[in-house]
Symmetry: C3
Subunit: 269 residues, 3 copies
């Protein structure tokens, strides 16, 4: 009887443990349901969502001028695209950078809330201006498509995160957000908690002949996020090498505070 009980308890525990997988299945189901919901929503402003960071894309064909005047944006456009996320500043900005490259649009505002749902970093609000609503809609679509890729070098564990970004040719979004010279290679190196970003930055600048555009930290250039963030420019090979070297150092340091940090999408750098 004891053996039988044991077997039952084991079976039960196994089922309980499987409920973790049920959660996963539920999450996938939710994601699919959401995609169906996306397809069914009858709101012309809605463009779509990205599968990470609670990222939503929207467009307003003809913005109310009273609202426009209070948006604190550059330029004067009839249509605006909106990329908004709870988690992620860098990935969405890099995605918007791809979007403005391929469309006749301009990023007119980049705002970084102190968010990430309890994490150490930023969310984002990115406004894209254009005179033709179809251009703006296309820009938001391109941005949404690029978000997962740009999360490829965001590594998380229970203690914090690392973020690495790299482009051989920065465009207007990177310039507006980070002061990156347009048309040149640009790299972003971030670590959280912030001190890890300081050591990563030092490693990056020693690893290759690159120029530091700026270094942001909790009191300077962030929205009080717990990140140290280096922005670099220079020869594309050097920028890439600096980013890769910093990533290695960051992985080791963040790993001392918890599990090995992992990314949710494949690394692209």
């Amino acid at each position: 009887m004891a053996d039988q009980n044991d077997a039952l308890v084991k079976q039960l525990l196994s089922r309980v443990l499987q409920s973790v997988d049920l959660d996963d299945a539920k999450s996938k189901l939710t994601s699919e349901v959401n995609q169906m919901k996306d397809a069914n929503i009858n709101l012309t402003e809605f463009v779509g969502t990205a599968p990470i960071g609670d990222t939503i894309g929207m467009v307003i064909a003809n913005v109310d001028r009273g609202l426009y005047a209070k948006l604190h944006v550059e330029g004067d456009y009839r249509a605006i695209g909106i990329l908004s996320a709870r988690t992620g500043g860098g990935p969405q900005i890099m995605a918007a950078d791809e979007a403005v490259k391929g469309t006749n649009t301009t990023v007119i505002s980049i705002q970084m809330p102190r968010d990430t749902k309890g994490g150490a970093g930023h969310g984002s609000l990115i406004l894209i201006g254009g005179d033709d609503v179809s251009d703006v809609r296309r820009a938001v679509e391109i941005a949404l498509e690029n978000v997962p890729k740009k999360f490829g070098d965001v590594y998380n564990n229970e203690a914090g995160h690392l973020e690495l970004q790299y482009t051989a040719r920065a465009s207007q979004a990177c310039h507006l957000a980070f002061g990156a010279p347009e048309g040149q290679a640009y790299g972003l190196i971030a670590g959280a908690p912030a001190g890890i970003g300081v050591v990563m930055a030092d490693a990056a600048l020693k690893a290759a002949n690159v120029e530091a555009i700026d270094f942001a930290s909790p009191s300077f250039g962030t929205s009080y996020s717990n990140e140290g963030i280096l922005h670099i420019t220079g020869d594309s090979g050097a920028v890439r090498q600096a980013v890769i070297s910093a990533r290695e150092v960051g992985m080791q340091l963040l790993g001392t505070l918890g599990e090995t940090p992992i990314n949710d999408f494949p690394s692209y750098i």
Copy 2:
């Protein structure tokens, strides 16, 4: 035997699932125990709590003048009332607005921490000044009583929240916090993540003939919260209509990022 095992496992899983309800029961029990604790606390400064937002109300009959000088408050009062919360800025401010209407007191400071316990919005610290401690205590009591009602149009899901507020006659708290003209209708329309608030604001201004007082977003007029917040005034029917229209749009947009958003208390608008 297999059938029996299955039955047992089903029973077990059912009990495990019921433990969710146990959590709920525990939560209710905790709430009751807290109410008993509230009744027993022998600290004259304690007034009470509200059942949402970790909201606490306190009063100091005769504030230490050295402290008062460092509180950055307007006016010069002997007694201060304190309404403080982890979650919720708008609801507590609207509740304080009701409180100053009914008592001989003045709101002397409204501060909005970037809180909500991992959510996208604000907490609040509201100081109420008066010369008579019983007036101030009554104001704090009225505010606490009004907090649940003012949460009636706060809708949450796992991705963010919406907040709608409306009053036919704004008083001094709404004026101090949001620039609302006293004695006129006022509406607040907020969405998180912030981009949803932008589209809600556009919908509100197109739905009725109202005036935009201000639009707040992560970098402007918030404490880096991930919200887009429109403040409106005008004819009371128009303000109400604008708020209701924005709510419909917000529910659809926030719903694309997760479950249908729900409110914890009945809608009042």
Copy 3:
């Protein structure tokens, strides 16, 4: 048969409940594994971790000058030590205060991100400068060793936290961070949500003859944290008495919003 099922279900539930202890065991194991990882990490910059607050200590022997120029730090040092944490500003600053007392080093930057992983307070980034890397490393080690002690009077429950700090003789870190006069007694009294800190501050100033250096709150002197924080100086006995009196008041008030607040390390005040 019903009895047997009941017994099994009871056994099962007991095992499920025990899994809470398994979590605890896993947490301890993780902590031990991390300590082994700490010992094995082959990065000269890594100094160690503290067992609370996701606190990490690092040192850079010869900082890249391009980075140094962008760190917004005081003074000009070759070596910098870094103390960085997700949770805790006060404890790490008090720990750094002990560190600079005992070594030939200087705290050159104190930054307070709005963090605590969904909690109401701050994390910290503290930079320590020195010309000799071994001095700086020693300072970081002393700081890490002191972090748990300085968490001794941090009390948490699900609604917020209290923090009390006291030193008979403040040093340079307390001066830089809080304006404490060096060499004199200093006390920190914080409550979250912020309103609790207001009442604690009033109680402290009425309990003993101490001087209020400053009072910080969500909009003044914090990084939008949900804290009310009083900084006091004066006779060491009076400062200590004021801190103890405020703690008593804070425990009662925070307790009305949830469980009795508890500390993770023994009280030192």
